[in-house]
Symmetry: C2
Subunit: 376 residues, 2 copies
Amino acid sequence: MITRRGLFAGGVATAAGAAAAATGSAAGAVVTHNARQAARVEPFHGAHQAGVATEPQAHAVFLGFDLRKDVRKEAVVRLLHLLTDDAARLTQGRPALADTEPELAVDAARLTVTFGFGPGLFAAAGVDSPVEPLPAFATDRLEKRWSGGDLLVQVCADDTVTVAHAVRMIVKDARSFARVRWTQRGFRSANRRNLMGQIEGTVNATDLDRAVWIGQGPLRGGTTLVLRRIRMLLETWDAADRVAREFTIGRRLGSGAPLTGTAERDEPDYARKNHLGFPVISEYAHIRRAHVADPALRLLRRPYNYDEGLTPEGESDSGLLFASYQADIARQFVPVQRMLAEGDLLNEWVTTIGSAVFAIPPGCAPGGWIGESLLA
Amino acid sequence: MITRRGLFAGGVATAAGAAAAATGSAAGAVVTHNARQAARVEPFHGAHQAGVATEPQAHAVFLGFDLRKDVRKEAVVRLLHLLTDDAARLTQGRPALADTEPELAVDAARLTVTFGFGPGLFAAAGVDSPVEPLPAFATDRLEKRWSGGDLLVQVCADDTVTVAHAVRMIVKDARSFARVRWTQRGFRSANRRNLMGQIEGTVNATDLDRAVWIGQGPLRGGTTLVLRRIRMLLETWDAADRVAREFTIGRRLGSGAPLTGTAERDEPDYARKNHLGFPVISEYAHIRRAHVADPALRLLRRPYNYDEGLTPEGESDSGLLFASYQADIARQFVPVQRMLAEGDLLNEWVTTIGSAVFAIPPGCAPGGWIGESLLA
C-alpha cells in the first residue's frame, strides 16, 4: 500500500485549475435545479415557526441538546443566531455558511427546522421558564435517554438525505455550545397509518389561533411542544384479534370510521348504545378517552412512526414519536393525558418511554433570530 | 386505575356485530386504493428476482438471518416456501397469510423482497455453496455484527411504513427457523447523492445478461450479492477542501463530471495529462481505481445511505450500504476491491466495517418458490 497523504499533497495543485474552471457550470446546474424545486420550499420567516402547521413531511429527526455547563445567556443568544441563520438558508435550498456539502442543500424537499426551548435553556439564560416538565402519569415508564433536553431542533423534510445533511450542519454548529442528548428519527406514510395499522390524525386541532398559537406575552405567536416516545408492543397487539383491536380504539381498522359511523371523518356518537344497553364506543376506548369537545382545546398532533429494528431479545423496537402542539400544556395536554393514563384500553399495548416539553418561540423576520422575544 | 383485561373481555362481544357489518365497506375502500396504486406494483414472479435490476426505491432494509442449529434442508425448504408466499403477496399490495396489519399491505409502493443464500444456508441444506466469503483486504475493519449471515432478505420500497410492515411479517414467519443476525437500514435521495455529497451510480453495469445474470447451472437466472457496510468519516472529510475532495474522487462534486469532462455521463479520459505532465485524474483517484473497462465485467451497484445518528463520542455513525450484484464475484468484485484496497485516495475517509456474500437465486413462476433450482 502507498501512503496517500503524500500522494495527495502532490496532486492537489494539478487539480486546482480544473476545479476552478468548472465552478461556473456547476453553479448553473444548481440554479436550474432550484427552479425545478421551487414548489418544494417552505417559508422560513414569519409570525410562526414552520414545522408546526406545515403539512407533515415524510421524514423527521428530533434532536434534543443539553447546553454545556458554562453556557449562559450571551452564549445561548450566539448559538440561536447561528442556528437561525443555518435554518433560514437550508430551508430555502441554500447551503449553510461554510457548508461542507453544499450540493446536499440544493433540494430543500420542504425542509423545516423548528426550535424549542426546554426549562434548562431558560434557567441557563436566567429567564423564567414558560414551560415545566409534565406531572408524573402512572402508566409512564420514562427512560432518561429519551427524556428532557434544554434545546430541541426538529428537522423535517420529504427527502432523507436533506434531513441528514441539515442535522449534520446543525449539530456541527451547536457543538461548542451543546451536546446531543438524544436523536429521535421518525417517518410517516402517505396513507397516515401507524405501525399498528391505525390511521393517525383523524381529529386534530383546526382552529390554530385559539388551540395552538399563543396570543399574548413573550411567547406570542409561539406555542408549546410535548414530545412523547410511545413504544408499541406489537407482538402482543398481534395476538389480539380484529374485533378486540377495533373495540380498543373505538374505530374500524379498515376505514378508520368510528364504530358508530361509516367514514373516517364521521363524528363519533359517544351516546349511542347497542341492544344490550352498552355504549357502542366503550367508556375506555382510546378515541373516547382522547376526545376533546371544545375545538379551542384540541391538540395539534403531528406524530411520526419510529422503528429501530429489533431489540437484542428479538422484539420490535418501534412505536410513535407523539409530537403534540398546544397553546397551553396544563389546560390542553395534561387533562387528555390523564384521561388516557386512567383508563385507555390501548395502554395494554403502548408504553410511554420518553417525554420532553419545549416552548416553541414565535417565528422571526429576515435578520431576526428565533427566541428574540424571549431572550433579547 | 381500573383493570383493563376485565373490562375488555366484557366489551368484545358487543363490538363483534358492528365489526362484521363493516367488513364490506372496508374491503371496498381497499379495492379503490389498489386501483390507484397499480402503477406502484413491481412484478414478483419471473426469470429473475425483483430488487436487483429494479429502479432503486427510496428505502431499504437488509436483514441477515442465522439459521437455528437444528435447521436442515427440509426446514430450509419449508421456510423458503413460507417467505416466497409472503413476498408474492406483499409485493402485489395484498396482505400476507394471517397478516396482523392487513391495512399496511395495501400500498405496495414498489415493494420488492429479494432473497439471498449465504454459505451457511447451503451447508445446512447439505448442498455445495456457489459462493464463499471474500478474501481479506488490508483496509477492512470488519465487525462481526455487520458481517456474514445464512439468509439475506432485502426489502425495498418507496414508503417507510410499507417496508416496516413487510420486515415485520418476514421476521415473524422466519422466527422458528432463524434469528436476525443484523438489520441494516438504508435510504436514497432522488438526487442520488450520498452523505459525502457525491453522486452515486454514474457508471453502472448495463449489459445485465452478461454482467449480472448467471447464464448456466443451478443459479441460472440468478446472481450474487456482495453487501459491504462502508463507514464514512464525515468529520475528517469535512476538513478536506473542495479541490482535495474532487482530486480524491476524480470527479467534480457539483456536476458529478469527471475532472476531464463537463457532464456527469462524460467518459473519463484517464490518459489526459496536465501541463506538468501529471494525469488529470490521479492514478489513485477513486474513479480510476474502481474503473472497469469491459462492460461484461462491470458491477451493478445499488447502494443505500445509512445514518444511525451519533456515536457515544459524538461522531456521526453514517455511510453507505454498498450493495453490488455481479454474475461472478471472483472475476468482477474481487479485482475492483483489490484495486481500491491497494491505492484509493478515498480510503482515508471510508472504512468497510461489514461484509457479506450471498447467492441470489433466480426468480420463480407462480406456485414456485425461491431457491427451488438450488435445493429441490
